[in-house]
Subunit: 651 residues, 2 copies
């Protein structure tokens, strides 16, 4: 069947080179015309008879040729044979637009230096907001260098909103004013009456309302200064703690961040760097599917509350990096609602949808309405999948307080392109910094161009990235008829691969799979009855990984990757896997602390599902061959020796 | 005179389009060949007779045409008429290499997904290290999305190194071991004997030595765990503070970060986000040249020491964003040496050389040796400049503990490209995080490719940026015969512009200039005898700025920008400026709190100095015309009205 989306990627053999060339040529021509139309009366600074500096040009050509030669050693992400990390083909739109805008080199820190691409960035934020269901008029969004920075921003803003009521309370007291506050259980109280515990349990939107109420109650400059001087951002943690102890008698234990054991490793970095401390990253157990367990979340909230430990934020994941697991966000939001009602406790919910966020395009009809689970299944061609829970989980992104989502992953645009979306745009004001040299007031007609740099972690940033994301999403709309079709095809391919691993004959090995994939990542491992220890099991799978990973000659017939499921974070997923190994699995349990290596195939090539030869069959066969190559009979000296070496490596 | 470097930029009229096209074509051809040589036996997934999806292609063409049309509204940074922000022409090498590598879309988080470009990134770090004088074998460096993230990393690492001796002391005590430590005054003591104040005053290198000494004294796993559990990164500030209070009786006041008032606005954001607190950003007064005053720094250190306030880091700037001022880093390092000797106090010195770092290329001879100040003057063609102090200051970058430097500024490569350099690579281990799904152990022959992502703030990052920076620096070497010539020409142009503003007749206005530029940024303001208040003075200059800033039609004949010198941070620079205005200036002093607007011209176009017509004369004339357009006689109603309106805007 002909797939029109196939014409929007370069193609594994460069089948669509013609249109890419056409676009690149027109980008360069237009750019040159633009340059020449700018003060055409100015003479060229380059004398027309000037020698073209042959020595310098020769150097440029020589080094460029060397670069091109070196680049031949790159990993062939474009190929259906690559199913490793979250990299694949890029859209022609993304490539061409990045190049086109790069020629103008706009800096999206501010409209003053990027009048065009800052507007495109705003439009991208709107498109993403519409896809996930945020109100574009109330939210704020922008591009980042990647998901890690977007996640950094989420916790940065969440923390400022979390502590804001404390500053508000102290500021109000100093100004002799008082205002009402909505509490999480629905009651209303006066700000002055709240103790520290209550102040740290105000809903994000109510925390920001508080600000507006205080504006009405007190003169603005005095209020601004009173708030600022009492904020954590100004005082820093050390003085802030002293202030809390002095004002409230007890600063309470540090606020924690809840995340599932499957959360991206960047969260450990983020809590450490922001001064929250990695001890305060509390891992919620996972279900066998590697999703956060909502019941365990409830129990954790109860336990924290009983110890008077406030919760700053909860990070839910839509598409874990390792397994593509999609948390049941709807239930997580419901757990928070219950905590608000029953415990008077609340917190910011962030969805780390860096990988899986684009799955929301599958739930969005071309007219903008939300599809039912049955409608999603119809598009995917699955009788029983995606499940009702899946559609509910993805649709619930609109209920998160913030979302990070990476166009450079399942958005199929070139690096760098992450994105951060904040449901309530007022939150950005709490982290604003004013660059003195950028025009914040009207700069002629361009004055309404946004100064993105005020509210973000980064400073200078490529407008080309905004152009690439914009064009890609305009060309392939973020709905079930556009981008959703690509996502659907990779979901289908992943399920096909999953089924193939389930039915293929690997004897004397046995293939053990994680539960059915939520997105397009398939995790599995191979087991052999002779493997006496968990280390040997891990070593076998590390060896297979090494056979099927990039080397200098890219000689592996297929490429996948692997990850280590660590304990105790992943116990909820490792347990059932080992159980399925029977007696062997039981004995492995003893050394669970070393974690479990699983092989991992990310199936996101837009051509995979329609490909011939069938790359999925080929991949299964390649895994089998790699495994078989270690067998000279299960107890052969060669094999033992290899396994031992690999065991040393893997530890 | 023919300038060979002219052939390495596209040129204001696209004079060098031919070679750019040639490189782009060969990049695409090579890439297509590479794709086709990868498993040529695989059939194409795109049926050869498949329709090229005319509707989808039409959409792609339509939106692309719209993008190109919109991009025409970009700011003409390439033009000699643009002297606004720190943006200019990019090297052809940078443009072509970015495009070439982008086709392969490598992710420099790890060699596993970017075997080629991670090595190029390492090479770029070496080239930059050699330029500033770091030992490439002892330092560590990498690219970032920009200077802000590089600065974030500097303080992130500095803080971890700063608090490391405290964790080491507590860990050693718990393990029952003791080691010797070098103190800043040169004496040696046993770790167990040090009080908190002394632990917070260990030189960065000695702090890291401590780690190695402890490795020898205690079993490694026990030590690692003891250190980790006592680190700020693990505990977070709140529990850390309690621990300090419990162990040492007094946690001491929070550690501060010293910076001059001219430091980049990102520093306020960084100390706030990292939990240090903006109160702990202590501004050191500046000299009239907007450089940090080393004597004031000494007094500040004395004062902090007398109050037992520890110093985490001092941020010196090489090329302030607003004026291009180059701190006398040599003297700053000397002040620290004196503080170590006389006060027993020390701290990390970071040079924020995001803008000015490439000036170091001027001090480096092609054979790698360091040029004398006289040698630098010879290259610049200046009889008395750059001064001895200038060369000493730039050469002193090698004495800073870390340096941030932006290839996307004076490196003339496309966004995004910042860089971070750390003198003692061991420091990165204190912030390392291991991604479980990236291969840290040998992954076949590519196993030695670096896992950059372990040690950095970001995660995924474009390998294309490394390729662009690499090719640019290979083609235009970072020495006085290569990149230094471009820097020299822009320095010369800026001094010419400075002189023109000094000699031109602006009557009835008067031009007041900041002191001679250290780099290629010229700051000045216009004064008119009728301006009764500082607000009116500021409003006049804001109006001139608005006339000479980009609008929707880009109709301004020349483009500059402006900044607001705030008080008290800039008092050391504002004072002399106002003084030079005589009686008017004295009266303005009263409202100094509102700051002083100065016009700002960044002269970094590589063609500027050789240009004809003389863009510098043109710029001076454009400023004069803009100012004159407000005059219908100094007291004309039109002018008064305009000024009042502008005054409202400016406030």
């Amino acid at each position: 069947m002909s797939n029109p989306l196939h014409s929007l990627f370069l193609g594994p053999k460069g089948e669509n080179e013609q249109i890419l060339k056409e676009l690149l040529d027109s980008a360069l021509e237009t750019h040159l015309r633009w340059r020449r139309s700018n003060h055409p009366e100015d003479p060229s600074p380059i004398a027309s008879r000037e020698s073209p500096a042959p020595a310098e040009r020769a150097e440029l050509r020589r080094h460029f040729a060397s670069l091109l030669e070196q680049l031949q050693g790159s990993v062939p992400f474009f190929s259906g044979r690559y199913n490793g990390h979250m990299l694949s083909e890029q859209t022609i739109a993304g490539q061409a637009a990045y190049f086109a805008a790069m020629l103008y080199n706009p800096n999206n820190v501010s409209g003053e230096v990027a009048p065009v691409t800052t507007r495109l960035e705003e439009e991208v934020a709107h498109l993403l907001a519409e896809m996930i269901g945020y109100d574009p008029m109330r939210c704020w969004g922008h591009l980042t260098s990647g998901g890690t920075i977007a996640n950094f921003e989420a916790l940065w803003i969440a923390r400022n909103v979390f502590y804001h009521p404390v500053a508000a309370s102290l500021a109000a007291r100093s100004l002799g004013v008082d205002v009402s506050v909505s509490l999480p259980d629905g009651s209303v109280a006066m700000l002055s009456q709240l103790n520290l515990w209550q102040l740290l349990n105000i809903r994000p939107a109510c925390s920001l309302d508080l600000w507006e109420k205080l504006w009405l109650a007190a003169p603005r400059p005095a209020l601004e200064s009173a708030l600022k001087s009492r904020s954590l951002a100004t005082l820093g943690y050390q003085d802030y703690n002293r202030q809390l102890a002095a004002e409230f008698g007890d600063p309470l234990p540090p606020g924690v961040v809840l995340a599932s054991g499957t959360a991206h490793y960047s969260w450990a970095k983020i809590v450490a760097a922001l001064g929250v401390g990695s001890n305060q990253l509390v891992f919620v157990p996972v279900e066998p599917e590697c999703r956060m367990d909502p019941d365990a979340l409830w129990r954790e909230i109860e336990s924290l509350t009983s110890r008077r430990i406030p919760i700053m934020a909860c990070v839910s994941t839509c598409g874990t990096t390792e397994q593509g697991a999609v948390d049941d966000l709807q239930r997580i939001v419901d757990v928070r609602a219950r905590a608000e009602r029953e415990l008077g406790v609340t917190f910011h919910i962030h969805s780390d949808a860096c990988y899986g966020g684009y799955a929301a395009s599958l739930t969005r009809a071309p007219d903008g309405s939300r599809l039912t689970a049955a409608g999603v299944r119809e598009i995917c061609g699955g009788a029983h999948w995606p499940t009702d829970q899946w559609t509910r989980s993805v649709s619930a992104l609109e209920r998160a307080d913030s979302v990070s989502i990476d166009p450079h992953k399942l958005g199929y645009v070139p690096y760098p392109a992450g994105a951060f979306l904040l449901k309530d745009r007022r939150g950005r004001e709490l982290v604003a910094t004013d660059p003195p040299y950028l025009a914040l007031t009207t700069s002629r007609e361009n004055g309404d161009a946004p100064v993105i740099g005020r509210f973000i972690f980064e400073g200078s940033k490529p407008g080309a990235s905004a152009a690439a994301t914009w064009l890609s999403h305009k060309t392939i709309p973020l709905n079930s008829a556009g981008h959703g079709r690509i996502i659907a095809s990779t979901l289908r391919a992943a399920r096909d691969l999953y089924a193939l691993f389930g039915s293929a004959d690997f004897s004397p090995y046995r293939v053990v799979r994680l539960p059915e994939p939520d997105l397009n990542i398939v995790c599995f491992l191979l087991h052999h009855p002779s493997l006496g220890t968990l280390s040997e099991l891990n070593a076998l799978n590390e060896m297979i990984y090494r056979e099927l990973s990039p080397d200098a000659e890219m000689s592996a017939p297929y490429m996948i990757t692997r990850t280590r499921l660590t304990s105790p974070a992943y116990d909820g997923a490792i347990g059932p896997l080992l159980l399925s190994l029977g007696k062997d699995g039981e004995s492995y349990q003893e050394s669970i602390a070393e974690g479990l290596t699983v092989l991992r195939a990310t199936v996101m090539n837009p051509f995979s599902v329609d490909a011939s030869p069938d790359y999925l069959l080929g991949l299964v066969d390649a895994v089998r061959r790699a495994a078989m190559s270690f067998l000279g009979g299960p107890a052969s000296p060669v094999r033992r020796h290899r396994l031992r070496r690999a065991t040393c490596h893997a530890q």
